[in-house]
């Protein structure tokens, strides 16, 4: 009951018009920033930190966390409508969301993304409130070998991404992994493949690569097929998903929310991996796996529920232990410090009104997001009816400024253009681009944890550590299974 009282106190903090205005502002900023390629959740929150400096600490953190949770939904809007994921994790949403738009069902794609995000976000926050401390303790116990196993499990999802050609999907993921080895090796301190350039010292940033591979490359592909006619998509249906369609994906949303929250808790895993893994799991357990990649509502729901629920998960280590679990957490940690607050167990004791205020605000923010999203969808959907001759130049301009915004660096802009060309070539010859993103996201996690585990205990650790061994075995089986199935059907 103590918890109940504390939550009530949290809602008490929200009384008055100021906190509500702050939440609504945060959600609007979050949705728009999320939808803008380049302003990933962490960048969006980071850019608003200076802005929040002048606010009282409680309100400032409510603003920033509202942005955080809403931006994960915002990413899905551009992913569904123009195949340009606004956030890294929405690259999974694009796999099925954009086909829905192409079939004239943009309303359904956006609608299911919104509902899945709301439920997922809520589930993540609920788990955060109820189990933050015990979950954080468990997460600490995982060793580098376990992290390595989890990362490999993430890599194994590639098998479900190559629609026609798994070989090419694997090449794409290896390309991403190899690209990620460029830059300083944080284990040994050696700079690798930098060709003596300072700009490459920290390697390629994810966001410019993501924008290039998805957004810029799409423009190139469309330009290649340019007919000169400014054809607009003939039928744009803003009909929302029916209740029946929602019921069909309810289990997917629930399962993906749990997967997302759990993966979010691991410091360093994050929304993108959560989305990839839950998409993979959903495809494997689905009754119609052949629909995935061709506009499956289940696919969109799985990705969005997972990435939104991971927010709650990622806040677990930050609030319970003062350890940032994601890039956005690291920024939030700075925001706490700016207001002379230190997140962690002592914050629950010393300033409970802040902690429970954030909890309550996250719950409210989810509802605000649902309402604003329902209204917003009607507006967003009009993007599809912008003539291509206007839309494509704007996509390029957004991509360029978005790449620049990440690090205020022109090098990132050139990287974005370069990845755009690579993405265009990849697509032209039927190599999927989503695995490249997966490779870039997971590259460090795989390599660093592998080497850390070996430095600590030698190669035998992967057999001795029972959890790591089990997960590795599952990863291996889940990787081989599609090949096995293919081989069996071919034999018949």
């Amino acid at each position: 009951m103590e918890l109940f009282d504390s939550i009530l106190m949290g809602f008490g903090v929200l009384a008055g018009w100021k906190p509500i205005v702050v939440i609504i502002t945060g959600v609007i900023v979050g949705i728009l920033a999320g939808a803008m390629p380049g302003l990933s959740p962490s960048t969006a929150v980071a850019l608003l930190v200076p802005f929040s400096y002048t606010m009282p600490p409680g309100l400032a953190l409510i603003l920033l966390t509202s942005i955080y949770i809403a931006s994960n939904y915002g990413g899905s809007i551009t992913a569904v409508l123009i195949n340009t994921p606004g956030t890294p994790s929405a690259s999974v949403t694009a796999l099925d969301g954009y086909p829905l738009t192409q079939q004239g069902k943009a309303g359904k794609g956006l609608g299911i993304a919104l509902i899945a995000s709301t439920i997922g976000g809520g589930a993540g926050v609920l788990i955060l409130i109820l189990f933050a401390v015990p979950l954080a303790r468990i997460a600490l116990k995982f060793s580098p070998a376990d992290y390595f196993a989890l990362a490999l499990f993430g890599l194994a999802t590639v098998a479900s991404m190559g629609r026609r050609n798994v070989l090419k999907a694997m090449i794409a993921i290896l390309f991403g992994l190899l690209i990620k080895t460029i830059g300083i090796d944080s284990i040994s301190g050696v700079s690798r493949f930098t060709f003596g350039s300072d700009a490459l010292y920290e390697g390629f940033s994810l966001i410019p690569a993501l924008i290039g591979l998805f957004a810029i490359s799409v423009v190139f592909s469309k330009i290649e097929q340019w007919t000169g006619l400014n054809c607009v998509l003939s039928k744009v249906d803003n009909k929302l998903p029916s209740f029946k369609e929602f019921l069909k994906v309810r289990m997917t949303i629930l399962r993906s929310s749990i997967i997302g929250t759990i993966i979010g808790i691991f410091p360093g895993a994050g929304a993108t991996i959560a989305a990839f893994i839950s998409y993979d799991v959903t495809k494997r357990t689905s009754t119609e796996p052949e629909m995935f990649g061709k506009g499956s509502m289940e696919g969109v729901a799985a990705a969005e529920a997972a990435n939104s629920s991971s927010v709650g998960g990622a806040l677990v280590p930050l609030l319970a232990l003062g350890i940032p679990g994601s890039a956005t957490d690291a920024v939030l940690l700075g925001a706490f410090m700016l207001h002379d607050l230190v997140p962690g167990p002592l914050l629950f004791r010393d300033s409970p009104e802040i902690v429970y205020g954030i909890f309550a605000a996250l719950i409210v923010a989810n509802f605000v997001m649902l309402i604003l999203g329902l209204f917003g969808n009607r507006m967003f959907i009009r993007v599809v009816s912008i003539p291509d001759a206007i839309l494509y130049p704007l996509i390029l301009a957004i991509g360029i400024i978005g790449s620049f915004a990440v690090n205020s660096s022109m090098f990132d802009v050139s990287a974005c253009i370069g990845f755009g060309i690579i993405g265009w070539i990849f697509k032209r010859y039927d190599y999927p681009v989503a695995p490249v993103v997966l490779g870039i996201v997971l590259g460090n996690m795989v390599e660093e944890n592998f080497r850390r585990a070996v430095i600590m205990d030698g190669y035998g650790i992967f057999f001795r550590d029972k959890l790591a061994f089990t997960v590795l075995l599952i990863a291996l089986l889940s990787f081989i299974y599609p090949f096995f199935k293919q081989w069996r059907t071919r034999k018949r």
């Binding site: 090449i171 290896l174 390309f175 040994s188 330009i223 206007i390 400024i401 022109m410 795989v446």
Partner: protein
């Protein structure tokens, strides 16, 4: 190993990269001239990846050698990337692979890439705002949008939007180029 270490940095590396470029160019000529023309891209894509792998593999020799050190993991990726790329090539020669897609308006794409590159340099000299306006207006014009007023309105609108949101509210120091000293 001493020989490989020579190619890992400096002149050796430059020679290696130049050599690989020549090899890829020769391959391109051979493919175009003597058959397999319809597989040109399908052959060149994995071949370029193998070329990239050779360069990266050579560079790994400049890293310190230790157990589970900086060499190990890149080499693992390089190994599999080469194996899988070779498998794609084998598929092509066993005629199991798909042909290249029919070429579309490639010239148009190259023009677009050139424009983007020009835009990239223009940002650094003429500043973000001016070059963005010109870039957007020019591109919309090239793509054949008829209504001039809408072109100017959208371009100006974007420039104003990026000035207010990015430059003013979010404090992102968009490059001003030569105009830097006037602000």
């Amino acid at each position: 190993m001493g020989l490989l270490a020579y190619f890992s940095e400096g002149t050796g590396l430059a020679l290696l990269i130049a050599g690989l470029f020549i090899a890829l160019a020769l391959l391109a000529v051979v493919v175009l001239r003597y058959g397999k023309r319809e597989y040109f891209g399908q052959i060149m894509a994995p071949s370029s990846l193998i070329g990239l792998c050779i360069v990266f593999f050579a560079i790994t020799f400049s890293f310190p050698e230790e157990e589970a050190g900086p060499r190990a993991v890149p080499r693992l990726w390089i190994f599999w990337l080469c194996v899988l790329s070779s498998m794609v090539l084998i598929q092509i020669f066993r005629r199991k692979a798909a042909k290249d897609p029919a070429p579309g308006r490639l010239g148009f794409v190259f023009l677009m890439i050139a424009l983007l590159t020009g835009y990239y340099f223009a940002i650094q000299t003429a500043g973000y705002f001016l070059s963005t306006f010109v870039f957007l207006a020019l591109l919309m014009h090239i793509l054949g949008y008829k209504n001039k007023w809408i072109i100017y309105a959208v371009s100006t609108g974007w420039v104003i939007f990026s000035y207010i949101v990015f430059y003013r509210v979010l404090y992102i120091q968009l490059p001003l180029g030569y105009f830097e000293n006037y602000f």
